[in-house]
Every structure is written in structure tokens, then in C-alpha cells.
Symmetry: C2
Amino acid sequence: MPNPLIRKLEAFGPLPDADKALLDEVARTAKEVEARTDLALEGEAPYKIHLVMDGFACRYKALANGSHHIVAYLLPGDFCDLHAFLQKRLDHSVATLSLCRVVELSRSRFEELTERPAILKGLWWSTLVDEGTLREWLVNIGGRPADQRISHLLCELLTRLETVGMTVGHGFQLPLTQADLGATVGLSNVHVNRIIQQLRADELITLKGRNLVILDRRRLEALAEYDPNYLHLEGGGAAGVQPRA
Amino acid sequence: MPNPLIRKLEAFGPLPDADKALLDEVARTAKEVEARTDLALEGEAPYKIHLVMDGFACRYKALANGSHHIVAYLLPGDFCDLHAFLQKRLDHSVATLSLCRVVELSRSRFEELTERPAILKGLWWSTLVDEGTLREWLVNIGGRPADQRISHLLCELLTRLETVGMTVGHGFQLPLTQADLGATVGLSNVHVNRIIQQLRADELITLKGRNLVILDRRRLEALAEYDPNYLHLEGGGAAGVQPRA
DNA sequence: CGGCAACTTGACAATGCTCAACGCGGGTGG
DNA sequence: CCACCCGCGTTGAGCATTGTCAAGTTGCCG
């Protein structure tokens, strides 16, 4: 996998070579961050923007009772807090889940990127995909029973990990505990466990250690009512916003 | 209330007079749309962008079992499908709930707006607020019991309606059935009804016909664990993206 | 080998859903 | 003007799903 950032931004439209060179330069500044490390905390004044180049991270929000809820997974090429400089205080936290390679962008560096129209469009695009994903999650959690919720999440992860080359066949590394899955789809860890037993018994998945394999993708997607349209993988068909060229 | 669109975009930063004039011109093209009318349908190729100038609308997504889930409420100044031109197919539908005044923006008109840097920034901002709201809804539905979910929604509506001048004291018109509330927070209409009875019994709210009054805002907000930070009402503190000026 | 975190299982409680019936009120047609 | 109808709200009873608590078990890492 070359530069996941370029791949991601080119999902919307091709980038000029100069832009790609800039993005490659940015990518080279990535640093390793250990698993389970906070990158940004809710309520903080943002001072850097984070960008995942390798690994598995998440956005999460704390609840009053001490628990927390995961509101997004961040894979290579994803911005963790693209909006940070527009806000006084972050409305959520960001943390790594696995060992990651992460870029920290200063404000000036970020503005350098947004001055390139093709890149700015790509960033817009990526924001909209995030929004679409949130809508789908809302429907998933608000409207479907436990087995569908979990299956749906697994289907989405398979699709997204495929686009960044982090799958082997229909399998991938899942750096999440069952409690994490519960914090994502709004279920208790115990119930997540029972559902996973059931998915295993139905020979839909295999999950051992951190290794997940989807045994029957068709059936799992059918169970989950999974339609990846919301990820808008085909890229923008229509022309889109034209910021001063 | 003068032009809710200007108010909304100025939440992020001041607009030049020329921009305001353009927005006023746009606002003048608003047309009346009856309550409970679809403005855009999931799966369609988008050809216009919609903008609510008055009234109460929503975004929703259909579920396989024939039901549907509401994923956003749209109040005066809100864009219904800002992202439409970036996507081949809409990933959700939009409908009015009350009688509305709605602007339909053609692509060229829309691009005229996005060529103004201050307006473009405001649109960015508004997208980010939408995203923040979705995250909060996700936490609300995924992590809180029924009474908190409904209270939280009512608190949010009060706050948002206040900013557009659609409240009287702590009361407002709620053009939603109890089934609609259920489709928003992921509960059955019957259960919504029981919770509302309970909120009435606790003298937290009054709801008769389409008229809602919040009797004890403090206690309702405390019950809901409501913190409006996610709406970012104070506007952007930091400078933000600078598209080619 | 010990220890800790994650996973697993069982029993029980609680929250919320479904189904069904009925009241109320506004609108419509006779 | 009245009768009807239909959508919405309300209520009750029973059931299903999911949560909580508690007690193992497994497996990895030091």
C-alpha cells in the first residue's frame, strides 16, 4: 500500500502530481503511536490535526456514567479531527486502538494543503463520507436488533479495510475487545459475546484472538441488511464544489 | 427573524455586505411547501440543493422492514443536502414536517455561493455542526435509556429553535407525532407515549396538540445529561480554513 | 508459574416491544 | 347538521430482547 492519504483523496477525483508530492512529503512525517493511546481529548482546545497513516484508531465520547461510546473508526488515510481548527473545543476524543503510524499537522501545514483546490475538494468529500457513515450507524443502532447491528459493523469494516489493503481474503485483524464492539453498537459486552457465539454457530464468522474471518459474506450481508452505498466508494460522479481555481 | 441563512452562516464569522446581499437574493426565491412532502428521495441522482427558510423538515432513511429512521431535523437556515452535488446518489431522503418555505438551489447558483470564501467557510462550519450533532445523537441512542433520550432531544430542539426565534418562553410548536419521536430516538410509539406521560407527571413538560412547553428546563437538562457544546453555538474561535481569498 | 485481562456461561431482572382495544378530535360526505 | 372515519394518543397485558451480577475459564505476558 503506497500512500493511503493519496488513495483516499483520489477517491473523489485525480490529484495533480504536485499535490501528490506534497502529500508524500506530509506522509513521511508520520510517527509511531502505541495502541490504546489518546491523541486528542474532548474539551481540549485543538492545536494539531491528526491523520492515520497505518493502524486502527477511533473517535469516542464519554458518558456521564463513566462509560464511553465509540462514534467512528479511523483507518489509514482518515483524518481524525479535520474540523479541529474550526472549533474552540473538541466535542469528542480520539485514540489509537492498534499500533499506528500517525501524522500530526500543524495549522500552517494544514493550510498549505487546503490551498490546493483538488485537495480541498477531497477533504470535503471525506467529511461527507464521514457524515454518511454516521447516519448509517444511527440507523443501525436505532433501528436494528443486536445480531444485525454487529453483523453490519463487521460488513462495514470488511469493506473499508479492503479499500486500504488490510484484509486477507475475507479476514482481517480486529484490534477490538468485545466490550469495544459493544461500546460501538450500544450493547453490553455480555450480549455482544452471545451474539458472536451465535454468528459462529451459524458458520457466518470465525473470531479467535484478534483474528476475524467472514466465512459467508453473502449471508452475513443479507442478515445485516448491508448496502455499502453510504460509503460512496465509487467517488463523486457529479462535478462538485469549485473553490477559486 | 430576518434572513435565517445569514444568521446561520454568520455564526462562524462575519460576512461581507456583498455576500449578504447575494444571500438575501437567494432567500427571496423561497417557495412554500406543504407539510409532509418529500423534497428528495434516497437513491435519486441529485439535481438541486434544498434549503429551509421557514418551518420544520427532516432527513430520514428507510429500513428494510418498511419503517424509517429520522437522522436529522432541519430548521430555518439549514441545508438539507449540501453534499448532494458531490454524490452520485443520495444516501437519505428529505421531507418537510410542517408547512415550510424552501429554497431550491441549482448547481450554478450553488457554485456562485461557494465562490465567496466567507460563505464557503460558513458552509464548512455548518457541515461540521451537523456532524457533531450526529455524533451526539449516536451517543444518545446508543448509550442512554428512553427517558433520557427523549428529554435530550427536547432540550436540543429548544436550544436550536431559540436560535432561530421559534420559541415562546420555553415552549414551541412541535410538528411531530409521537411515532416520529420514536423514529428519531429508536423507540416504539407506545413507549414514547409512556415516557411522555412520565415527563408530564414529573412536571417537566406539557404537551398538548402540537404545543410543547418545558416547565423546568434545569431539571430536564439534568435528566438528559444535556450539554449543548456539540452544537458549537459560540462560533469558531480559531481561524479556520483559508480558501484562496 | 502467577496474574491479569478478556472471554464465557448461567440465572435473574429490567427495559422496551407487540398486539389489541378504546377514546378523542378534526375533517368529510351525505 | 349530523354521522362517519381515520389518524393520533392512551392504556393494558404478555412477551422478547437485552442488561446486570456473579462466577468461572482461557490465554497471554512477564
